[in-house]
């Protein structure tokens, strides 16, 4: 049973205490910034969103990230997962199920996998049907940060509601051609949902990802609950993030197809 994860906690405002305790950091858990006016522009929404995440300076400084947690699928299936992402545009996910650990990675140019879970024991290129979606995930900053410089297009589609809360809907056309919709919570300014369309087999499927349980780590705010599903369908994947490491040292070779 997938519990809704839209309810999320805004980080507790500890700006004064933390500023004193963490001399080397800016306020690690910034209060929800003063928002844009009632009818904001794209730039105003994105600016508020970036500030809520911890600010552009910290986001730009982020080199790598490792998240560990559990993935829950239907039927009570649970698997530990480790997700690593590194500039510029590298990502790797390990999933362990019934003693088998699979690796799925993309080095920014090509994706590959070692998939004992699927009876495939040697490193091999990711099938195109699987590799294409992963390209959207390669930007450690997220596509809204410096979207113009990245060659993306972002337009304001209007108001929406996500989990009973008001949100701003943004239409994104990424530089590589992919399209998606981002929903920014109108009070917390966090990204609470994305919607993208994928081709699965011979049909188009709309995938929605919902983000919640936002917590501050190293001066940046990250979701610790992610739920993905095909829109309108009851089954989905739920991720519970347990730890996030900021800027861990990751061997670049972990992202490249082994020889």
């Amino acid at each position: 049973m997938m519990r809704s994860l839209v309810q999320h906690r805004i980080p507790v405002v500890l700006a004064g205490l933390l500023a004193g305790l963490l001399a080397g950091w800016a306020a690690a858990c910034a209060p929800a910034p003063e928002g844009p006016p009632p009818d904001p522009t794209v730039d105003e929404i994105v600016a508020a969103h970036v500030a809520a995440r911890g600010g552009a300076e910290r986001i730009h400084a982020l080199r790598s990230m490792r998240a560990t947690g559990l993935a829950y699928a239907s039927g009570g299936r649970v698997a530990p997962v480790v997700r690593e992402i590194e500039r510029p545009g590298r990502i790797r996910l390990e999933i362990t199920y019934q003693g088998l650990t699979g690796v799925y990675a993309h080095d920014g140019e090509a994706g590959w996998q070692v998939a004992p879970l699927e009876g495939r024991f040697d490193p091999e290129p990711l099938p195109a049907a699987v590799a294409a979606p992963s390209v959207d995930q390669l930007d450690i900053e997220g596509p809204l940060v410096d979207w113009r410089e990245k060659g993306h297009e972002v337009t304001l589609a209007g108001r929406a509601e996500v989990g009973g809360r008001p949100a701003w809907e943004l239409d994104l056309r990424l530089a590589g051609g992919a399209a998606r919709r981002d929903f920014i919570d109108a009070e917390s300014w966090m990204l609470v949902r994305t919607e993208t369309e994928r081709v699965v087999g011979s049909r188009r499927v709309e995938i929605e990802a919902t983000f919640g349980d936002f917590r501050e780590v190293g001066g940046l705010v990250f979701p610790h609950a992610i739920e993905t599903r095909a829109k309108g369908r009851p089954q989905g994947l739920r991720f519970v993030v347990e730890t996030i490491e900021i800027d861990p040292e990751i061997d670049d070779a972990r992202f490249r197809l082994p020889p």
């Binding site: 003693g99 095909a230 009851p234 089954q235």
Partner: protein, 233 residues
């Protein structure tokens, strides 16, 4: 504490060592090697056995595996020790040991049929005042199963209708191309489409379902039901 027996077994010098088979690229097979020849290495993963060509293996290490720790702890547990089985079930879930988790939670639900945690861990949902299998709850809500996914009947009909129209359009286009002396290119594209469909068809397990990863990239289908004990891959 229920976790204490598990920790003691881990630290015990008599704990059974298990095997970690490392594949090139970081994949791993964790369990107990039961056979090792020039042609294959067979590992008991706790839900059956899996064999791999030695050429795919980078190295093998020995040490307490999650599976061996579970087995040792389970052997010590009284079948009626509900909270002990609960702790063991939680631990097995956290390690991704699906078969072992199922075994442990079945012990809990046998004693406490309405235990919410155990039922959820076994993939059941509470619907219409009782615990039931997920698929039964979907069915009760009007969903239908189509190609290993649950959806409303209207969506299934829409997919089938689109597919039929597309196949007809493709057939007509193919006929036209053939007629226009583009047979070679048309046949190549048909083969590519068949290959794409074969890829998806080959990854449709009896259960498990399609997995949509929008947080990183992962397996295109979630593995199906844990293998029966003794099953081979």
């Amino acid at each position: 504490m229920r976790t204490l027996p598990i920790l003691l077994l881990l630290l015990s010098p008599g704990a059974v060592l298990a095997d970690e088979v490392y594949l090139r690229g970081g994949g791993r097979i964790s369990g107990v090697i039961v056979e090792r020849t020039d042609d294959k290495i067979t590992v008991d993963i706790g839900a059956g056995r899996i064999s791999v060509d030695p050429s795919s293996v980078e190295r093998i290490s020995q040490g307490p595996s999650d599976l061996s720790v579970y087995r040792d702890a389970a052997a010590e547990l009284d079948p009626a020790d509900v909270e002990g089985w609960r702790a063991l079930g939680r631990q097995a879930m956290r390690k991704g040991l699906a078969s072992q988790a199922r075994e442990a939670w079945n012990h809990v639900v046998a004693a406490l049929p309405d235990d919410a945690e155990a039922n959820e861990a076994l993939g059941r949902v509470f619907h219409d005042g009782r615990w039931m299998k997920e698929e039964d709850a979907y069915r009760a809500q009007g969903y239908v199963e189509f190609e290993h996914e649950w959806m409303m009947p209207e969506e299934r009909e829409s997919i089938l209708s689109e597919r039929s129209a597309r196949e007809e359009a493709e057939r007509q286009e193919l006929d036209a191309r053939i007629a226009a002396d583009e047979e070679d290119r048309a046949l190549r594209e048909a083969e590519e489409e068949a290959s794409r469909q074969e890829f998806w068809d080959s990854r449709m397990p009896p259960s498990g379902g399609v997995a949509y990863w929008d947080w990183g990239v992962g397996p295109s289908v979630w593995p199906g039901e844990p293998l029966a004990v003794g099953a081979e891959w």
